[in-house]
C-alpha cells in the first residue's frame, strides 16, 4: 500500500494536497484497494460548495457504493472530468488522479500526516 509523504489524509481514506489557498483532493491507495474495481464516480460541479468531513461524491465499485468525504471546506474550482468516462483511473493511480480542486477556507480537524495515516491503515 502506497502512502505519499507530501499529503495529508482523512481517516476515511481521502487525501489532500495543499498549495497556497488551493487544495487537490483524492482517495488513497488503501481506499482504491478496499473498493476494488471502481466503475463510477458522481462528481460535483465547478462552483459547488464542499464542507470538511461531509460527503462531496459517491464512488461505486464492483463491491460497494461509498461516499467520499471532503478534507476541506470551500468552493470547487476544478473537477477531474477524465474520471467521468473512466473511473477506473482511480485504481490505476489514485494519487495522480485527483478528484476535485478546491479554493478552501478551512481544513478538516481530522487530517493526519502520512506516518499517522499509515498507522491507521495497519
Amino acid at each position: 500500500m502506497k502512502v505519499l509523504e507530501k499529503l495529508q489524509y482523512l481517516p476515511s481514506h481521502e487525501w489532500v494536497l495543499v498549495e497556497g489557498n488551493k487544495a487537490k483532493v483524492g482517495i488513497s491507495d488503501y481506499a482504491q484497494h478496499a473498493l476494488g474495481d471502481v466503475v463510477y464516480i458522481s462528481l460535483p460541479e465547478v462552483g459547488d460548495e464542499v464542507t470538511a468531513d461531509e460527503s462531496f461524491a459517491d464512488v461505486e465499485s464492483v463491491k460497494a457504493a461509498s461516499e467520499v468525504f471532503s478534507p476541506v471546506s470551500g468552493t470547487v474550482t476544478a473537477v477531474n472530468d477524465a474520471l467521468d468516462s473512466d473511473a477506473g483511473l482511480l485504481n490505476q493511480d489514485p494519487y495522480e488522479n485527483w478528484i476535485i480542486e478546491v479554493e478552501f477556507t478551512a481544513l478538516s480537524e481530522n487530517l493526519v500526516d502520512a506516518a499517522e495515516y499509515t498507522k491507521l491503515c495497519n
Partner: protein
C-alpha cells in the same frame, strides 16, 4: 452461452391445440396494433432449454448454500403441493368474496400467525419482496407523520452496517439518510444515535440480530431514544430466522417491520422466486397500510391508506406456501427452527474460525469472518476463496458485506443443513485454506468447474445489457 427462446424460435413450429373457445373472441393483435412477438418452439425444445439452464444453477437442492443475510433454507415440497391445489390456482381475484372463502381464510390465518411471530397488530401482504416491503413501510410512516402534522420529519437513521437496501429505499421514498457508526462488534454507537435524533427524525431502520450476526442488546434503549425524539422504529426482517419464537420485534419497540416469506418461511428465493415481503405494524399505523378490496382484516382506511403497491394481495401462492410451512411446524417448530439455525451457525463458526485466524465467539444465525488475516500473506482474497468453493459444489457465502469488515465473508448455514453436511463444509474450507498456503495461484484460477468462471464485473456494471436485442 445458451440461446434464448426468442433466438431459438422458428415461425410455425408451435404444434399444439388450444381447448375450444368458450368466451367471446378478442383479437389481441388488433387492440395492440402489432402482432405479439412470442417465441415458437416445439415443447421438447422448450424443456431442453430450461433443463440446460437448471443444470447451470446451484440451488440448495444441489448442495450447501450458506449465503449470509439471505437465509437460503430448504423449501419443503409440501409447500408446492398445497400451492397447486385447484382451489388456489383456479380462481380469479375479482371473484365475489363469498366464492373464495378458502383463500380469505389463508390470508386470515397467515395474518394472525405473522402478528404472533412479530408482535404486531396488522399485516399487508401486497409487497412483492423485501425492498418493496421497506419502500411500502416508509410510505406508510410518511403518510402517518403527515397526518399528525410532523412534516418536518424527513430523516431516516441507519447504522453503517445496515443492509444497502435500507438507505436506498429511504432515498427512493423521498427521505434523507443519516448514517451512524457502529462499534467494532456491529452494535450501534449509542452516543452517535443520541446525537443524531431530533425533531427531524422520521425513523430508524435496523435489523436485529445485526449484519454481523450479533443480537444488539441495546435495542430497548435504542427504541426509547428514537421514540423520545418522536421518531418511529423500523425492523428489517432479513434476520428474523434467528429469533422466531424467541423474541419479537414488537416487544423490542419496533413499530413497523417487513418480513421475507422467501427467507424465513421457506418459499422459493432467488432466480425469480417470486418473493413476498409482507409488512406488519402496530395498531396506530394500520389505517395507512395498502388498501385491498377483500376485507380479511379490520382497520385499513381507504381514505388514509397509502393506496396500492401491487395488485390485490401480492403474490398469493407464495402466502399459501408460507402458511403451509407455518402450520406444518407449529409454534414450537418455528422456535425450534430458529434455535437450530443459531446452533448450526455456531457449530460451523467454531470449526472454521481458526482457519481465518480468528477466535470463535458466540453468534446468532450467521457470522462474519475476515479473509484478510489468513489471505493477505498469500495474496488470496475473499473472492478467490468464494470462487474455490464453487469448484467444491458449495455456494459461497456473501462476500465484501458488511462493509465495516475488511474482506468480509458472511456465513449462514441455516437450520436445514445436517451435522454431516456442516462437517463436510468445514473440511472443504480447511482444504481451500491449505491450497491458499501451498498454491495460491490455484485459487486465483478458480473456479475451473463452473460454467461461468470470473465474469468481467466492471464491464457488467458499465455496459449493462438488459434486453436481448
Amino acid at each position: 452461452m445458451i440461446d434464448l427462446l426468442f433466438e431459438l424460435s422458428k415461425k410455425g413450429s408451435n404444434k399444439f391445440s388450444m381447448p375450444e373457445l368458450d368466451v367471446p373472441e378478442v383479437s389481441v393483435s388488433a387492440k395492440r396494433g402489432t402482432e405479439l412477438d412470442l417465441p415458437e418452439l416445439p415443447e421438447v425444445e422448450v424443456m431442453r432449454h430450461y433443463t440446460a439452464l437448471a443444470r447451470r444453477v446451484h440451488g440448495v437442492e444441489d448442495g450447501p448454500y450458506p449465503l449470509g443475510s439471505c437465509t437460503m433454507k430448504y423449501n419443503p415440497k409440501v409447500n408446492e403441493m398445497t400451492a397447486s391445489l385447484e382451489g388456489f390456482t383456479g380462481i380469479h381475484p375479482l371473484q365475489p368474496a363469498d366464492t373464495v372463502k378458502g383463500c380469505t381464510e389463508v390470508l386470515k390465518l397467515t395474518h394472525s400467525a405473522l402478528c404472533a411471530v412479530l408482535g404486531m397488530d396488522a399485516v399487508s401482504f401486497q409487497p412483492a419482496a423485501g425492498a418493496h416491503g421497506e419502500m411500502t413501510s416508509l410510505l406508510v410512516m410518511h403518510k402517518y407523520l403527515q397526518s399528525i402534522g410532523q412534516t418536518q420529519r424527513t430523516k431516516i437513521i441507519v447504522p453503517d452496517s445496515s443492509h444497502g437496501t435500507n438507505p436506498a429505499s429511504a432515498v427512493a421514498a423521498g427521505f434523507e439518510v443519516v448514517t451512524i457508526p457502529s462499534y467494532p462488534n456491529g452494535m450501534v454507537d449509542m452516543d452517535a444515535l443520541k446525537a443524531a435524533v431530533g425533531d427531524d427524525t422520521a425513523a430508524m431502520m435496523l435489523t436485529n440480530p445485526n449484519t454481523l450476526g450479533i443480537f444488539d442488546k441495546q435495542i430497548a434503549e435504542m427504541s426509547k431514544v428514537v421514540h423520545a425524539s418522536g421518531g418511529l422504529m423500523y425492523y428489517d426482517g432479513a434476520n428474523l430466522n434467528a429469533i422466531m419464537g424467541w423474541a419479537r420485534p414488537g416487544d423490542m419497540g419496533f413499530d413497523i417491520v417487513h418480513v421475507n416469506l422467501h427467507k424465513t418461511f421457506s418459499t422459493p428465493h432467488g432466480g425469480g422466486g417470486p418473493g413476498s415481503g409482507p409488512i406488519a405494524c402496530k395498531k396506530f399505523l394500520q389505517a395507512y397500510l395498502p388498501y385491498t378490496e377483500l376485507d380479511y382484516r379490520q382497520g385499513v382506511d381507504a381514505e388514509k391508506s397509502i393506496g396500492k403497491v401491487k395488485a390485490f394481495h401480492g403474490n398469493f401462492a407464495v402466502i399459501v406456501k408460507a402458511l403451509t410451512y407455518i402450520l406444518a411446524l407449529g409454534a414450537e417448530g418455528l422456535k425450534d427452527a430458529s434455535g437450530k439455525a443459531v446452533l448450526n451457525a455456531n457449530y460451523l463458526f467454531r470449526q472454521i474460525a481458526s482457519l481465518y485466524g480468528e477466535e470463535y465467539r458466540h453468534c446468532m444465525h450467521e457470522f462474519v469472518v475476515s479473509a484478510s488475516k489468513a489471505g493477505d500473506e498469500y495474496g488470496v482474497h475473499a473472492l478467490d476463496i468464494a470462487k474455490a468453493m464453487l469448484d467444491e459444489g458449495i455456494h459461497p457465502p456473501t462476500i465484501y458485506f458488511p462493509l465495516i469488515v475488511k474482506e468480509a465473508m458472511m456465513f449462514e448455514p441455516t437450520e436445514t443443513e445436517s451435522k454431516e453436511s456442516i462437517d463436510s463444509l468445514a473440511e472443504t474450507m480447511a482444504k481451500i485454506f491449505s491450497v491458499a498456503a501451498s498454491d495460491p495461484d490455484a485459487l486465483h484460477a478458480a473456479p475451473l468447474n463452473a460454467y461461468i468462471g470470473r465474469p468481467d464485473e466492471v464491464k457488467a456494471a458499465k455496459e449493462m445489457k438488459v434486453r436481448y436485442n
